[in-house]
C-alpha cells in the first residue's frame, strides 16, 4: 500500500501476533515489541508511522513510554490500547496527545480508522519535520554576524534599531540582511520571520 510502518507494543505475544496478522493482511508493514525498551532501541526509519501501545506494560508502562518518546523526539502518533478501558484513563490518554484510545477487544474497522488518522497525522508531522530540518540546514549556512542580524529581524526589529544596538552603520546592516534573505531563500521580511518561527527561533536569545 505504502511505505508506512505500524509499531505494536504489547506484553501479550498473542495480541502482537494477531494484530500484526490483521494489519499485514491489510497491506501494512508491521513491527511488534513485547517490551517498551525494545521499541526504544529500534531504529525508526523516517517514514509515516504509528504506534499501537498497550497501557499496562511491565517496567515502563504506556504513559511512561509516551513521555520518553517525547523527550527523545520520536514523533510517532500513538493509539492506546487497554483491557481496562475506562473513561478517566481514556481522557488522560487523549490529553497527553494520543490519536485514539481503543478498548480491547477492538474491531478491524475501529483499528483501521484509528490507523488511517494516525498515519495522515504522521505524514503532516513528517513533512513539518522535514521542512524544519531544511530551514535549520539553511540557518547553519549563516555566518555569526548574519545569524545575529537574523535573530534581531526575526524578533521584528527595524534596521536602524539593530544598527544602533550593534553600533554599526545602517548600510552595513542592510547588506547583512540582504545576505540572510538570500541564504534563507526568503523573498520578503515576512517570509523570513515565518521561517524563523517554524525553526522555533522567535523567542530565543535575550
Amino acid at each position: 500500500m505504502n511505505n508506512s510502518i505500524i509499531y505494536i507494543v504489547d506484553d501479550d505475544d498473542s495480541i502482537c501476533k494477531a494484530t500484526s496478522l490483521l494489519l499485514k493482511s491489510n497491506g501494512f508493514k508491521v513491527e511488534t515489541f513485547t517490551r517498551a525498551a525494545d521499541f526504544l532501541a529500534f531504529k525508526h526509519p523516517k517514514v509515516p508511522s504509528c504506534l499501537l501501545l498497550d497501557i499496562r506494560l511491565p517496567n515502563i508502562n504506556g504513559f511512561a513510554l509516551q513521555k520518553i518518546m517525547a523527550e527523545q523526539g520520536i514523533i510517532t502518533p500513538i493509539i492506546f490500547m487497554t483491557g481496562f478501558g475506562d473513561i478517566p484513563m481514556s481522557v488522560k490518554a487523549m490529553k497527553v496527545g494520543a490519536i485514539d484510545f481503543l478498548p480491547k477487544p477492538f474491531t478491524e474497522k475501529k483499528l483501521l480508522d484509528a490507523i488511517t488518522l494516525a498515519l495522515s497525522n504522521s505524514k503532516v508531522q513528517n513533512t513539518k519535520q522535514a521542512e524544519i530540518a531544511k530551514i535549520k540546514g539553511r540557518i547553519k549556512t549563516l555566518s555569526p554576524r548574519e545569524l545575529e542580524v537574523f535573530n534581531f529581524v526575526a524578533r521584528g526589529m527595524m534596521n536602524k534599531n539593530i544598527a544602533s544596538k550593534r553600533g554599526t552603520s545602517l548600510q552595513t546592516i542592510k547588506v547583512h540582511r540582504g545576505r540572510v534573505m538570500q541564504k534563507m531563500q526568503a523573498k520578503t521580511v515576512t517570509e523570513l520571520i515565518h521561517l524563523a518561527q517554524k525553526a522555533g527561533i522567535t523567542s530565543s536569545l535575550d
Binding site: 491489510n26 499496562r56 477487544p105
Partner: protein, 531 residues
Amino acid sequence: MKQANDIKEPLLKKIIPNNLEVQILRLTNELKVRKRQLKQGADREKLAKEIFRGRVSRGADREKQGANREKQGADREKQGADREKQGADREKQGAVREKLAKEKFRKQTDELEIKSGQVSQGVHREKQGAGREKLAEEQFRQQSDEIEIKDGQLKQGANREKLAEEQIHIRTKAMEATFDGIFIIDAKKPDFPIIYANPSFYSLTGFTKIEVIGKNYFLLYGEAENVHSSEEIKQTLLRGKPFQGEMLHYKKNGKKFWCLLRITLVRDKNGSITHYVGNKTDTTMMKQRDSEIKEQREELLHVTRVGKLAEFVSSLAHEISQPLTAILSYAQAAQRLIKDREPQLQEILQYIVNDDQRAAEVIRRLRYLLKKTKPAFEPIEINSLINDTVTLIMPDITARNKTVKFELVTNPPSICGDRIQLQQVLLNLISNSLEAMEGNKDSHELVIRTSHKDNDRIMVEVKDSGCGIPTENVKKLFTHFFTSKQDGLGMGLSISRSIVEAHGGHLEAKNNPVHGATFYFTIPITKKNDQ
C-alpha cells in the same frame, strides 16, 4: 358385877371423855397449828409478793415477761388467798365443831396435854412448809437473776444498735449518691410494691416519689411496653434467680434510653425472699458509641467488598479481553486473507467475530455495573484518620492480644483524599500486620508512624514485628491475585496501591532490619492554592 360395873363405869367414863377430849384437843391443836401455818404462809406470801412486785416493776419497763411473771405472782397470790379462804372455811367448821364439843364436854375442857408426837408432827409439817417457802424463794431469785441477764443483754443490744445506725447512715448516703438508679421492692407483699428508690432512679426515669413508692415496678411503665421483657424478668425472679439484661426503656416523658437492669434477691436468715433490689444503669451513651463504630465498620466493609469485587472484575475483564482481542484480530485477518473466496469459511469466521464481540459486551456491561464511584476528595487530618481507623479495628487488635504504638507527627498539614478509601488502605495494612504477627507469640507491638517525607509529602508507616516478607515475594506483593494467605484473594494490597496512587502517592513495603516488615505510603500535602 356391881363392882365390876363401878369399876367399869368410871373407867368407861374416863375412857370415853378422854377419847373425846383427846379428839377435841387434837382437833384444836391441829386448828391452832394450821392457823399459825396459814398465817405464816400468808405473811411469807405477802413478803414474797412485795419482793416480787418490786422486782417485777423494775423489769416491767423493758420486759413484757416481767408483766407475765407479775401475773404469775398475782396468780399465786390468788392461790394463797384461795387457800386462806379454804383455811377460814375449815376454821369455821372447826368452830362449829368446837362449840358442839364444848356444849357436850364442858367439864373436860381444862387441862389437856398435847401429845408430843402430834406436836412433833405439827413441827414437822411446819418445817415442810418452810422448805417449800425456801424453794419458792430460790425460784424467785433465779427468776430475778434471769431478768438481770436479760437487762444486760438489752443494754448490749442498744450499743450494737447505735453502731448499726451509723453504718446504715453511711450506706444510705452511698445509695443516694450513686449514679445508678436503685430501687427496692417488698417481696412479701402480693403486689410487689416499690418501697424505696434513690434520687438517681427518679432522675433516670423522670418519675416522682409519689408516682413510684408503693407502686408495682412493672405497672410504672404501662402494661403495653416491654411486655416481653417484663414477663422475662418476672419469670426469672419467680424462679428465685437474679435478673440481668439490657433493654430499651422509656422515661416518663416518653424519651427512650438504653438501660442495663439488674435485679438481685434479698433473703432473710431462713432463706425466704424478702426484697428485690433493682439497679438501673443508663447505657445509652455506650450503646450509641458502639453502634456508631459498628456502622462505620459495616460501611467500610461494604465499600471494601464492593471495591474488591470491582477490582476483581476489572482484573478479570483485562485477563479475558486479551485473548478476546487476539481471537477477534485472527478471525478478521483470516476474513481479509480469504476475501471473495470460500463463502462458507467466511461465514464461520463472521460467527467467531460476532461471538467474540458478544463476550466482550458481557464484560463491558459487568464492568459498567461495578464501576467504582468517583472518590470524594476532602481535606483530611492524617492523625485523626489513623486514630479513627484504629478504633474501628481495636476489637480485632485486642482479641489478638496485640497493642498499637502511635508515633504521630504533631500538627501535620492536611492532605486531600477520600476518607473511606484511605481508611481502607490503613485497615488493610493493619490487618495484614496483625496476621503477620499471629504466629509469633513474642511480638505484640504494632507501630504506626507519621512523618514529613519532604516539603510536599506526608509519610505513613505501619511497622509490624511479624514474620516479614519472603524475598521472592517482595516484588509480587502488589500484583493482582498474588497472595500468601490460604484464603486470600490477592486483592488487598493491589487495591491499596491503586488507591494510594489515585491520591498521588506511593505504597511500598520493606523488611525491617530485625523483625517483621514495614508498609509505608506517601500522600501529597494539600497546597494552599489547591483548596
